[in-house]
Structure formats: structure tokens, C-alpha cells
């Protein structure tokens, strides 16, 4: 089993949804001990990836009903309650849906930390809103705190 993994997920063509990918692109330039991976639109293979690592930090845009750029960290009970509360779309298999299936299948999610950033807009543009852009370095610091 490999050690820690930082996984950025999201779609860089959909505005702030690209925040996770943006963060890992920045982290790749640094010499982290943890493995850094662009997960883009990972589906169920996320579950295999979680199984193969001791710790997994996922960075993604999460609608927490907070002002844009707000950062939240979800782990253990807090992550599970996020999965409970969520209204699931039948169309999309997003990261939370996959985690929920993993939870139902009794995968070990205690090693997963989700760092969510509140998006302002998920419009079809290839850049982040200023609110989210300004928080990139702060998100990177949060990630490093988890894996260093």
C-alpha cells in the first residue's frame, strides 16, 4: 500500500469546479512526500485508489452553502454526515456519490479527508472566480498540513 495521496478532482472547463485540479497542478511543482494526482472526473476507480493508499486527501469544489472561497475540511463523522445529507442526482456519479457507494460497501473511509472549496460559479469557462483564485494558496497550506 502506498502512503499518502493528494487527489484533485473536478472539471477545469466548468469554472470553480476546476479548483481541485488547479490545486494539484500547483502541488506538482513542489516536492511533496505524498503522491499528487489529477483525478479529473474519476468514477468508481476512486474506490480502488482509496484502497491502495494509507491516506487520501481529496480536493474538490463542494457546495456548503457558504460564501464563495470558503474552505471546509470533512473527515470521519463529518464526511459521513455530508454523504447522508446530500441529495443525489441520478445522472452524475460525482465524487460524493462514489464515496457514498464506498460507504455502503463498507470501504474504510476513515483515511479519507475531503477539502472542499465553496464555488461561486460552475459556468462553462476555463478559469476560477477571483474569490476562489485568491484561496488557492490557503487550500495548498491545508493540504500540506494533512500530508507533511
Amino acid at each position: 500500500m502506498s502512503k499518502a495521496l493528494v487527489l484533485g478532482v473536478g472539471n477545469t472547463l466548468r469554472g470553480d469546479d476546476g479548483v481541485g485540479v488547479r490545486v494539484v497542478e500547483e502541488l506538482k511543482k513542489e516536492n511533496l512526500k505524498a503522491k499528487v494526482m489529477n483525478g479529473a472526473n474519476l468514477g468508481f476507480s476512486l474506490l480502488d485508489i482509496i484502497r491502495d493508499h494509507q491516506k487520501v486527501v481529496i480536493v474538490d469544489a463542494v457546495d456548503m452553502g457558504q460564501p464563495a472561497g470558503c474552505i471546509g475540511s470533512f473527515q470521519g463523522e463529518k464526511l459521513l454526515s455530508l454523504l447522508e445529507d446530500r441529495k443525489f442526482s441520478l445522472h452524475e456519479m460525482g465524487i460524493l456519490e462514489v464515496l457514498k457507494v464506498g460507504y455502503q460497501l463498507q470501504e474504510d473511509l476513515s483515511k479519507v479527508i475531503l477539502i472542499g472549496v465553496q464555488p461561486r460559479s460552475l459556468d462553462s469557462i476555463e478559469k476560477l472566480s477571483p474569490e476562489v483564485e485568491n484561496k488557492i494558496s490557503e487550500v495548498i497550506a491545508w493540504v500540506k498540513k494533512e500530508v507533511e
Partner: protein
């Protein structure tokens, strides 16, 4: 019975993309049946114009995140048809492995994740994971196997990078192929029997409507990669003459064109292939068909799902055969083909070619005109576009026979019908909600 029913399913769930089902019945008479396709058009054919021909497989792979190998293969075959290139046997064997793996992957996703929830009365795979964890774990194992085969052979999953015109930029090692072979045999021994048991226990709706079934046909094999176009009603058509069989039409309620026969709609996909080619299935797949009570010819469109289960057994068995053949011959580093990123593509003078390949949902056509090093014109006919008019004909035949049922049941039967075709709406626009208006 004179009854007014209007069904209006806005965005049918558990299909790839967005479509609506609209049914209007007045005084027991069916007034309107529409499968509306509301996905935005994607303009891939226009994007290809002016691009260097060797780039076309990588560009068109992006039409789909599920059948990317299928689009790549059809694109490669169209280019090779135009350029008069015959790829090596090793290249063809490797392409066939990748294509069969993709069909397996897509079928597993469809019959386990999109169809099975209907039979357990749950809205999606998420609650299914809680009540039937073994079923979901098995599905995920099969899907991962298929994904890994594609990654190993095509260089990347889901969008191939090693498959290029006339070759592979990288071929798998013997050790990699041996590892895959062991896992495929394990899946056949451990995951297929419970899959067959599960699908044999499900009661699919009873409804029959004979239509025209169209698929590739090959004298030696259950055709996916190669063959002549065959229609159960009108017989054989050469691949370059596909337009004699396929007429594309624009309809107002769909951003996907309707591609149908010159006289009437036809069906493509797993059941069409089974009806035409079942004799060519591998032995375990034939046995699976018997166990699932699937006999050719079968006119029940709900059984497309059953045909997919049978085909996935064939895919595994045939991959064993293909990989053993590759290992027996020994893998050779051959020429690396013509990749999209190469600067020195051979120039050609006004060429034209067609690629016809079976992909998970049916026969896929790519047709290109090439001049010098560029694609100057392109046409792609996607399986779902060929099935849309046939699905509407099914609905027209089905609705009058179920008018005595409660509206919820009518809606569910219509959604299940559309879902059985495993429509890939995002690809066909160039579909699914039921709306009773």
C-alpha cells in the same frame, strides 16, 4: 378503453445524457409519441475539417467517455480504408482485445448499474450498494478488469493514446498480457456464474415487436471489428455503401439526427448482433444464452440487456482466445504507425474511406474525405441515432397494450424500454426524461 393519459418524463434517469419521453393519449387514442433529445449538439464533424488525418482518432475518441475505443477504431479503419493501408495481424489482434474490453466495460455498467436498480425497485446504484453489496462489488470488479485491459492495451483509459493509424505507439509486454489473461480467466470462473444466476432470475417485461435488425456479419467470427453490414430484412450492404442502408434525417424534437433505413427504422446493438450472429458466439456465451432463455430471433427489446449479458461472456472468452494467440505468436516491436502528433504524414490525393465497427450500442460509422494530409469532410453515424426512430416505433406499439395500467407503471415500462437500448445521448447529438403531456 377511452382514457386520457399524458406522460411527460423530463430527463429520463440512468441513461447517458438528457432525453425526455412525451406520450399523449386522448380518448384511448395515441396522439403523440416522442423521444425528445435535448442535449446540445457537439459539432465533432465540423471540428475534424482541416485537421491532419492522423489526429482524427484522438479527436473523435472524445465523442464518448464510454466508447472511446470504438470511436478510435472506427476512425482508424476509415482512414486506413481511405489510404489503402492494411495493418498487421498483431495490430488487428490488439485492437480487437481493446474493443472487446470496452464492450464488456460498457455492458457491465449498463446491466448492473443502470438496469438492475429497476428490478430491485431502487432509484439508483447507491441504495443498491446498501442492500446488495455483493452485486455492486462484482460489477465493480468486472468494470475494473475491463478498464485495466483498455489501459494496458490502448495506453490509456478511457481515451486511447497508443492506438494510431497502422499500428501501436506502444505494445503491452508479455508479462502484462499474462497477468490480464489470468484475471480474465478468474472473472469467467468466479464473477460470470453469479451474474448469469442473477439475470436469469429477473422477469423482463413481455413485449414483442419484430423490426429490422442490423449488425456487422463475418463468416468466421462474432463480428465486432470487421464484417459486412447485414440487415435481417434487406440483406448485405458493403461498408462503403452504408448510405444505401442509413438515411440521416433531421427531426424537430431531437438535437440528434434520426438515422434509419430508407423505408423504415431498424435496431442496432447487442440484440441485433445476437439475432444475426448467435451461431458465432463462443461456447460459454452460447451456454449463457441458454441459461438466460435468449433464443434467436428474439423480438423483445427489453431483452437487449440480456443479449448484453451474453455478449459480455463472449467478450471475456474471446479475449482469452485473442491474448493466447498474441502470446503464441510472440509480441513483436513493429512500425509505430502514424500518430496525430507526427509532423511528416504521407500526403495523399483526394481519398475517401469508411470505417464500420460494432461498438457497445451498435454499429458505428465514420466516413472521411482526405486530401493531402487533411480531413476535408467527415460524417459520423452513432448507434443511438440509428435506434431513436425504432424506439419511438416500439413505444407506439407498446403504449396501446398497457393503457389499462396505472400511469406510474406505464411510465416505468416506457423508461425501462428506452433504457434497454442503453442510449448514449451525449454521443448521438450531434436523450432521457418521460413527459406525458
Amino acid at each position: 378503453m377511452s382514457r386520457d393519459i399524458s406522460v411527460n418524463v423530463h430527463h429520463v434517469a440512468r441513461v447517458e445524457g438528457h432525453g425526455n419521453i412525451i406520450i399523449d393519449v386522448r380518448n384511448g387514442e395515441l396522439k403523440k409519441v416522442e423521444l425528445q433529445i435535448v442535449e446540445s449538439p457537439r459539432f465533432f464533424e465540423a471540428m475534424l475539417k482541416g485537421r491532419r488525418y492522423a489526429e482524427a482518432p484522438q479527436i473523435t475518441a472524445r465523442i464518448c467517455g464510454i466508447c472511446a475505443v470504438g470511436h478510435t477504431t472506427s476512425s482508424l479503419r476509415a482512414i486506413e480504408d481511405a489510404l489503402g493501408i492494411e495493418p498487421s495481424e498483431q495490430t488487428v489482434l490488439l485492437r480487437k482485445v481493446a474493443l472487446e474490453a470496452e464492450i464488456l466495460q460498457s455492458h457491465v455498467l449498463h446491466y448492473y448499474f443502470l438496469v438492475a436498480p429497476d428490478f430491485f425497485d431502487v432509484p439508483s446504484v447507491i441504495p443498491l450498494a446498501a442492500t446488495q453489496p455483493e452485486v455492486v462489488k462484482r460489477a465493480l470488479r468486472l468494470k475494473r478488469l475491463a478498464d485495466d485491459i483498455i489501459g494496458m492495451v490502448a495506453g490509456r483509459h478511457p481515451h486511447p493514446i497508443a492506438m494510431v493509424v497502422n499500428g501501436f505507439t506502444r505494445i503491452p509486454t508479455e508479462a502484462e498480457l499474462k497477468e490480464l489473461l489470468a484475471r480474465i480467466k478468474q472473472a469467467l470462473a468466479e464473477d460470470i456464474p453469479p451474474t448469469l444466476e442473477l439475470f436469469a432470475s429477473l422477469n423482463f417485461p413481455k413485449f414483442e415487436r419484430k423490426t429490422d435488425y442490423v449488425a456487422l456479419k463475418h463468416p468466421k467470427e462474432y463480428a465486432f471489428y470487421d464484417g459486412i453490414i447485414f440487415s435481417t430484412e434487406t440483406g448485405e450492404v458493403r461498408h462503403r455503401d452504408y448510405k444505401n442502408k442509413v438515411r440521416e434525417e433531421i427531426v424537430l424534437h431531437s438535437t440528434a439526427k434520426h438515422a434509419k433505413g430508407p423505408f423504415k427504422p431498424y435496431q442496432v446493438g447487442a440484440l441485433a448482433r445476437f439475432n444475426i450472429n448467435s451461431e458465432k458466439l463462443m461456447p460459454k456465451a452460447k451456454e449463457a444464452a441458454r441459461q438466460l432463455n435468449l433464443v434467436a430471433p428474439c423480438y423483445n427489446p427489453y431483452y437487449i440487456t440480456v443479449a448484453q449479458v451474453v455478449e459480455s461472456v463472449h467478450n471475456l472468452e474471446n479475449m482469452v482466445f485473442l491474448i493466447e494467440e498474441l502470446l503464441r505468436r510472440g509480441l513483436k516491436e513493429e512500425n509505430q504507425g502514424l500518430a496525430g502528433w507526427q509532423s511528416d504524414l504521407p500526403k495523399v490525393e483526394k481519398r475517401w474511406g469508411v470505417g464500420a465497427v460494432e461498438v457497445p450500442r451498435g454499429i458505428l460509422f465514420h466516413e472521411y474525405r482526405i486530401h493531402e494530409t487533411s480531413v476535408v469532410w467527415a460524417n459520423c453515424v452513432i448507434p443511438t441515432a440509428q435506434n431513436l426512430a425504432n424506439i419511438e416505433d416500439d413505444m407506439r406499439a407498446l403504449v396501446p397494450t398497457i393503457l389499462d395500467k396505472p400511469k406510474e407503471e406505464i411510465t416505468k415500462l416506457l423508461e425501462m424500454l428506452v433504457r434497454a437500448y442503453d442510449p448514449c445521448i451525449s454521443c448521438s447529438v450531434h436523450m432521457l426524461k418521460v413527459d406525458f403531456v
